[in-house]
Amino acid sequence: MSRFMKARIAAVGQISTTVRRLTLVPAESGQSFTPFSPGSHIVLGIPGEGRTCRNAYSLISAPDDSSQYCIAVRRQPLSRGGSEAIHSRIKVGDVLEMSAPANLFLPQWQARHHLMLAGGIGITPFLSYLPELERRGASWELHLRSQDLDAVRFPEAAAHVASGGITQYRLERPNLAALLSRQPAGTHVYICGPQGMIDAVHAAAAALHWSSARVHHEVFAAPAPGMPFTAVARNSGVEVAVEADESLLEALERSGVETTSLCRGGVCGQCRVELLDGEAEHRDAFLNDQERASQRCIMPCVSRARSASLVLDL
């Protein structure tokens, strides 16, 4: 991941037995973060044993506050290390690597009404929607289904629970068909929660003949790491280990192999290289289906290996 900066933990709070709230400030005094758009997330680098775990977290604080960012982290029962570390080891004063905010879950500003459906910790992206929806005078409602999470414990949400903007469900589930069918035309629905919930809302909307363009769910732009593999630049006689969180192009550059590149995003075609052996996992938008299937070329800026090694004509 490029564009990492340093952030310091300024405060740690407990929202529930399983959810912690972290306040991040710029590591150097006098600096400020960039403001962000509602629904943005950051990627936090959490040092673990032998490697850094990089997780994406929605920003829950007000988008126009560039003095600090807040996130809420649920302790995952099957943690890869990140959430566990945040709950057990991370403390006030620690400095962590953090990406600039990215956004793949924007409010649709032309919507006449915004219907937000959250499952548990899925409430987080919507917490940054609320100040902007209010500021623009937009019409909205938020439904949270959670067995143990109480929205009122988020300072960002408390007032809206009291005023009725947020409806909470404990053991029961919202009746999606009833909820969707009473929406005015021009409503957009946003879902953040478990896959079952996302699927159920899409199905309920489809059954009511909603256009799929009015149904949105959260997607994270987590850096897409993959399996580590070995790249062999045959002509240069160089063999390089491509780490899980670096690109093939970065690894080649690191080892001094001459390559050409331009967009570094898999669209321009400049870095295309012949693949002599091994199986590519194509992640680019440049090659056509036939070229992909042939397994005779690869775009090293974004694509990776399915096999243990790739031999390149470099």
Binding site: S2, S37, Q110, R136
Partner: protein
């Protein structure tokens, strides 16, 4: 950085626009190879770029700043519709104002200053002699709407694209020096709609790939590309609205006047994600150079000739070169022969 006096150069009438030797040297020659090829030539706008180059800073300002802002004011006065902001783009307009003020003050501190305490801001533009206190986000504290206010102080055209449904929409902008397109016409169009007239690239899947890439641009990850066409006389405003003023110029080009009158027009297109609104700022910084000045660089001269010889007919038509390209080629060929002869003379001497 040296600035020409405000009214020194005109992009209309007597066309007194002129490039200094310094401007010629830093001109963004757009052809990386001898053959013309269509490509997605987008790359990260990694800052700071090469010192003194047009990509050194986030936003480039050069010796034509005063002349270009004066031209912009002239065009806006005669046609206020060149600036347009749909209601849902108001936050993007403020985002853009903050972006320009921040980068101008940071990169050109001798010319601009921007101080703020919370939302209370103070802006000085020493070049245009402007000073303004205002409250960020409060339209009533500026003498005009935010995009109108800051756009008049920016060198280069501005489009603010709204992103929704995996597509980009031309929903705001200030376009006073377009190469034969119109904001009023394209307003509200999607990415593939406003690229509709471009030949060949659709079939090659270029727009599909580019759109995917552009939608993925995030805060802190700006990109840029160069685009080019040709214009008769140093005319910044070659919009469809004023076609009657410039269309017939194309018929005036001969192999004798092509060096003086035909200008290569290169756009540095910059795409930057605006942090609060998530709008995509599409900046079009236009650089003009006549062929006489361009061909003071012999490498550029011979490459331009080769590239123009390999242009597909569809592109010649689309770029509006059909009528005068033969004159340009003849002018270049004559000059190429002349330069070749003088080089031979030098070698034999």
């Amino acid at each position: 950085m040296q600035f020409a006096p405000r009214d020194d150069q005109a992009f209309h009438g007597q066309f007194t626009f002129k490039n200094s030797a310094h401007a010629i040297k830093r001109f963004p020659f757009p052809f990386p190879e001898d053959e013309y090829r269509y490509s997605v030539n987008i790359e990260p706008h990694a800052l700071p770029g090469k010192s003194g180059s047009i990509t050194e800073h986030m936003l480039d300002i050069d010796e034509h700043y005063l002349s270009e802002t004066a031209e912009r004011a002239r065009v806006l006065d005669s046609d206020p519709k060149r600036c347009l902001v749909m209601p849902h783009m108001q936050p993007a307009a403020w985002d853009f104002l903050e972006f320009v003020m921040t980068y101008y003050a940071r990169d050109y501190p001798e010319s601009f200053s921007f101080e703020r305490q919370g939302d209370d801001c103070h802006w000085r533009n020493h070049l245009l002699g402007l000073e303004q206190s205002f409250r960020m986000g409060d339209d009533t504290t500026l003498p005009m709407a935010p995009l109108d206010y800051i756009g008049r102080q920016v060198q280069g055209d501005i489009a603010l694209l709204d992103q929704r449904d995996g597509d980009l929409f031309m929903d705001a902008g200030m376009i006073t020096c377009p190469a034969d397109w119109s904001l009023a016409f394209d307003a509200g169009m999607s990415f593939s709609q406003w690229h509709g007239p471009v030949p060949l690239a659709h079939e090659m899947g270029i727009f599909e790939r580019a759109l995917k890439y552009l939608c993925a641009i995030q805060v802190g990850g700006p990109v840029h590309r160069l685009n080019w066409t040709m214009t008769i006389h140093p005319r910044m405003d070659s919009s469809p609205e004023t076609f009657s003023e410039w269309g017939s110029d194309r018929a005036t080009i001969t192999p004798d006047n092509a060096g003086r009158d035909v200008h290569l027009r290169v756009e540095l297109q910059t795409l930057v994600r605006m942090p609060r609104s998530h709008a995509l700022f599409f900046g079009i910084r236009t650089y003009l150079i006549n062929l006489d000045d361009l061909c003071t660089n012999p490498v550029w001269q011979s490459r331009l000739l080769k590239v123009l010889h390999t242009l597909p007919p569809e592109l010649i038509e689309y770029k509006g070169l059909t009528r005068y390209l033969p004159s340009v080629l003849e002018w270049l060929e004559r000059r190429e022969a002349g330069v070749g002869a003088s080089q031979a003379e030098k070698q034999s001497a």
